[in-house]
Symmetry: C2
Subunit: 201 residues, 2 copies
């Protein structure tokens, strides 16, 4: 019986999604699951939840500035608080969608390279030259980044991803769904793994 | 060298604080720490963070209704979603403060009995007769509950607890502080324990 993948909804601007992206593959592999990576934009999620970026919220922002780098150290993941933060990530998302649609093996390298560029090396992935450089680093043909960013079908697909995420109940990032069960946050990975292990609890 | 206690800020109306209250003692014991239980009110915390109860927020409320009972099952803690929820808990908090101030050994039994009454047995601890019954069940002399609830010095102390919590950065419940390091949420207990184990990371 084929098993369903783990759906991983995320925004490239979410530090907790970055942390989770470094850990979810081992969990999926242990339980013979694929991962479906679904880039979305947090802007519409904040709108739907009547919220806003954590770091802009009183008290929660101060806590987040402690918790994010501490969580990275806890998980052993390289982290450097980027500045500016947060940023617009629709371009990075569109390139990922383009690579995914063409079954290009660069899709996953692009995903991890963008996350690492922003959260480990303080490179502003909202800027086109940075995205071009990342493309070159992972071996994308010149012009690929621009082509995907300008593609109207890809723009529409990103909007559709957002709609799908909201319909799945996404209220923050990362938002993961396994066997119709939602898990929000890198701190829910232990519950997600326990769910896969036990078939539901 | 005496070590500082773990400060546990909470509201009796927080399900995640209830879950954490069943787990923090083992962690503290493993690392030879005392726990300072500090009842507060989430109302002023929501005001300070420009937030409101999780279950009243779009999407996040739907998620919380899945995540809270699932987290209880994950931790093996009895849970029954109370109705009404959330409720006013200033009376339960005042009784705890009164018991704490008199070094009454019933303080901790009161704390756990109130949490369990509300979150495991759907007893509305906003109602005085329920609090009276809980008092009787743990062996408090008749009239103790009313005496503490009406005590102006205890009311002032509860307000002071809230001020202290906000000054410590409390942005939700449970909010725990160990060695000046803040930890928000039952899901941060692993980081809290790792902090105690390593002396900071």
């Amino acid at each position: 019986m084929p098993v369903s993948p783990i759906t991983f909804f995320f925004d490239f601007s979410s530090p907790y999604a970055y942390l989770a992206s470094t850990r979810i593959k081992a969990i999926a592999a242990r339980h013979l699951r694929d991962i479906e990576w679904v880039p979305v934009l947090l802007g519409p999620v904040f709108e739907a939840t009547e919220s806003r970026p954590l770091v802009e919220q009183p008290l929660k922002g101060d806590y987040a500035r402690i918790d994010i780098p501490r969580s990275a150290r806890f998980y052993g993941v390289p982290y450097h608080q980027p500045d500016p933060f947060p940023i617009a990530t629709f371009q990075a998302a569109r390139v990922l969608i383009g690579l995914q649609q063409e079954d290009d093996p660069h899709a996953l390298p692009w995903l991890h390279a963008c996350f690492a560029a922003y959260f480990a090396h303080n490179r502003n992935i909202a800027e086109l030259p940075v995205l071009d450089a990342i493309g070159a680093e992972i071996g994308l043909p010149a012009g690929t980044v621009e082509r995907f960013i300008a593609d109207p079908a890809i723009k529409a697909r990103l909007r559709a991803n957002v709609e799908r995420a909201l319909a799945a109940g996404m209220c923050g990032a990362p938002f993961m769904v396994a066997d119709d069960q939602p898990f929000w946050g890198v701190d829910r990975l232990p519950q997600l793994e326990h769910w896969l292990q036990t078939g539901g609890f």
